[in-house]
Symmetry: C2
């Protein structure tokens, strides 16, 4: 009898549902939906780097995408679904009232951005991250040691402290703080209180200072020492930090009804999208998976006995079981990648929106032509053909060596500077950012035999991917599906529901292979080398002299 | 009986003719014309920083603008014209055949850019400037000492050497090399050979290493020591280097006919546009005149006995009589100012030209809306409100401290960066470039009591001019005419034709007063101070580490 599983992938702009045959990974159907409020730009302030998502966005697309995907499957498919699993962006946490209801779902906070999910790329908690870092430095144990040595404003505790400070009424009403990837499984399994819910090993270990060696989260005194506002919060957000192959429950009647699924469906523990995508793409020992979208996430795994108690400096973190259970997952990444191109596209949209006379769909269509045309024009230039050099940290730098104060720089403007030329320098910058991360892994003795590319940019931009192969000087294989995250979630669902005993077996049976391979051109690899040195140099000097917090 | 004079101003994009009453400076009529080939972008290569102008462009607009202006005057005006004078861009020289005919006017070189006028902002002679600088350093006399200590690729000898090297047939055909401001007066007075023509004190002193203390141009051995190709060229380009108040002849019959003027009209010696504009604007002791257009020129005058033999380092030059006869003219300037905004406008035009569907005049009209809209949006931001800092040297740096290898940098890109935000940072950069020049004058003891703004930007952009007053912390008065260069030329014409005995008398009688004054806001002056420090820092870092010739 067939067994189907559903992988649910919650990205930055949209969510997708994938109905998969658990035996071989065959995709029966998928459905994608944009978050409606997010798409309108609600609750966000780009100039302040404030990015919020309303929980209703998630719940609405959950129902619509699952029903939509099932409607495209043969009749009766739903009754053969045995498991589902979520992956989401993160750290993307939200204040709740203690019964797992986000505060923004209460009438009094319905329009309050601080009562919504604080999206991973939100940078409003810069100051709070600094305070947490200072507390770690002055503590007996540096709790950031397994998170690359620096706590990021993009992460759980910085966001919690920032929001508690921002609004006394919210702080008074708050009874819990939950990652999106923990909240969705809890909601659909009918859990009614925050206390003790299953937490995500992946989110806890990479974003919330969780580590087995100090017994989970740092002690209460650590948090209340940073600010009395944090008093009691360790307890409120504690729970078993499980790997994503473990079931957390079965669908509650309400959600079985809303999704059109049997209430016997087993729900797996959630995890962060990139980590789940790494599994979906085929991560393994000595394999680096890069999820390349608005930002990037670079992941690999190593046996615990190989890495021992060593801490890899300057990366995002290392957590036992965060990617594959039983192996230490290593995470690095660029806090902006496709977002760099999107920023440049938005800059170039300005004249179209203001002066073209176009409106509505005609205007959007014209705007959509910008990036393909930039790709075409920029790819005609040789390495360094712009005479420009840029840095990529337009959303701070995540790795190597986190520095949220960093901003991007473009150097080399002349009278002849063009829009495609600036774009090419920005693309080179993002790819040089990739090399900086790869160089760090290698320097720290993490052997990398192959790179697998996943995500929108990996699939859609041969220009960027060929440049990446050229700059890194290693071949890059492109994952056989553009839905690696959702497929990875399906693999976790298949494991949690008992189809497989171990995730690796699910990966072997359900994996999608590779679409194509980018082979580096040694001539271009050599041509990029001096440009990369310029990139490092521009980065170092702007970091030292320009971006020091007062600009 | 009325006496009229004609001021002829040859700018970068267009030429104008101004018919003026020599008694009081009253403007009877004016006419402007774009250079037709230049407007089509012919013979130029922005990516190589190659900018050339065809001599036929100058001759055609000379005839059309003078006839056009006269046609707007009362009948009989032409017969009362007693003098005319030219000012032009420079150093903008051209190879001739030895009979003052530019080589590009010969059929065999008609389409050869190296046979045309090499526009001031052309940077193709970077290498040759370096060689001239090296020769000056190793010579007993540093012949750049009165030109700020560095020879620029924008100047006469670098351009000559570059062109002679570029084409053997051209080098073989070449019999002379003449500045535009020397060529036009020679042509209209019917001079038929290069040898011994009246040269411009202004162009020679600021651009061609002329100085009275070493008897004019450096010796033949200096030039032939740089490259044997220069052998004999000192002789070919020598001639009396006169101030622009001196007559060089009367209109030849051919040009009297073509222009519709009496052949009794006296033609004054030409000079560079900025210097003539300084006179038209009312330059005097302790007064800094800034001509602010595509680039800037900052000028003042000091008595010879006050400056003595001191050399002001890092400026463009100091030449006795280059501005007002009898005083030492000091020149500094930014090699790009309005060009920075034009570059940014062109970048933003790209999507409009590619995707708006607009064509022809509708497209050009949309493009013309860009800069006013940027001004409006950028002026709504406070000092430093973009979080960005930029440098302005998109065409190399002229002063302080010439460095033709410098390029522009924009630092501070974030996810929220906007087109107007980048524009504001570029405007701040150009204005900080102004302060760097002003600071240099003051440091060297050149007293500045007032600033007068002239040129397109001074008249058209209150946003830029208010920022300039705020950043400098001094009031800026805007010249009463937007045709200061042409008016200055008219003043020289009136002096050369004997209406006045000294240029200062012409200035008193014919000056146009001031339109408005920008008063600095002390709060904003204080707010800009730390941003200016960032500008200096970013400039120093990129100069030391990034722009060293290999990018």
């Amino acid at each position: 009898m067939e067994k189907y599983v559903i992988g649910l992938d919650y990205g930055t702009d949209s969510a997708r549902a994938l109905v998969v045959d658990a035996a071989d990974g065959r995709i029966l159907a998928s459905a994608v939906a944009d978050y409606p409020r997010w798409k309108q730009g609600l609750y966000c302030d780009p100039s302040a780097n404030r990015w919020r998502q309303h929980p209703a966005d998630y719940l609405e697309v959950l129902e619509s995408t699952v029903r939509d995907a099932l409607s495209r499957c043969p009749a009766g498919t739903a009754s053969h679904v045995v498991g589902l699993a979520f992956d989401t962006t993160g750290s993307t946490p939200c204040l709740t009232d203690g019964t797992l209801t986000p505060l923004s779902l209460l009438p009094e906070f319905a329009e309050e951005p601080d009562a919504m999910f604080v999206l991973w790329k939100d940078h409003t908690a810069l100051r709070e991250a600094e305070e947490i870092n200072a507390a770690c430095r002055s503590s007996g144990t540096d709790y950031t040691m397994y998170e690359g040595g620096a706590y990021s404003p993009e992460w759980f505790w910085a966001k919690l402290l920032h929001i508690l400070r921002a609004s006394a009424p919210l702080a008074a009403a708050a009874g819990g703080f939950v990652e999106c990837c923990e909240w969705l499984p809890a909601i659909v399994t009918g859990v009614k209180r925050d206390a003790g819910i299953v937490r995500s090993r992946c989110a806890q270990g990479h974003k919330a200072l969780w580590h087995a060696s100090w017994g989970g989260l740092p002690p209460e005194s650590f948090f209340s020492g940073i600010d009395p506002l944090l008093q009691g919060w360790r307890e409120k957000v504690s729970g078993p930090a499980l790997t994503a192959d473990r079931p957390v429950g079965i669908l509650c009647p309400e959600w079985a009804e809303r999704l059109g699924l049997p209430s016997s469906v087993i729900v797996a523990g959630g995890a962060l999208d990139a980590h789940v995508g790494a599994v979906g793409a085929g991560v393994g020992l000595h394999t680096l998976v890069r999820v390349i979208g608005t930002s990037t996430c670079d992941m690999t795994v190593v046996p615990a006995e190989e890495i021992g108690s060593r801490c890899i400096p300057g990366i995002c973190g290392q957590t036992d079981g965060s990617i594959l259970p039983g192996l230490v997952g290593l995470e690095a990444g660029q806090s902006s990648f496709g977002d760099v191109y999107a920023m440049w596209r938005r800059v170039l949209e300005w004249p179209l929106r203001a002066f073209s006379g176009l409106e509505g769909e005609a205007l959007e269509k014209a705007c959509r032509r910008i990036l393909p045309a930039l790709d075409e024009a920029a790819s005609a230039l040789p390495p360094g053909g712009t005479g420009m050099v840029a840095t990529d940290w337009i959303n701070g730098r995540r790795t190597p060596d986190a520095n949220p104060l960093m901003k991007g720089t473009v150097a080399g403007f002349t009278l002849g500077t063009t829009a495609p030329g600036i774009y090419r320098s920005l693309v080179e910058a993002t790819v040089f950012g990739t090399k900086a991360i790869s160089d760090r892994f290698v320097r720290e003795g993490i052997r990398i035999d192959q790179v697998i590319g996943v995500g929108g940019i990996a699939h859609k931009s041969p220009f960027v991917m060929q440049m990446m192969a050229d700059v890194l000087g290693v071949p890059i294989r492109i994952c056989g599906t553009d839905q690696a995250c959702a497929l990875g979630a399906a693999m976790f669902a298949a494991t949690a529901s008992g189809v497989y005993g171990r995730v690796e077996e699910a990966v072997s049976a359900m994996g999608s292979g590779f679409l194509r391979e980018y082979i580096p051109d040694p001539t271009r690899t050599a041509a990029y080398a001096p440009l990369y040195e310029k990139y490092l140099s521009l980065g170092a000097l702007t970091e030292r002299e320009i971006f020091k917090g007062d600009i």
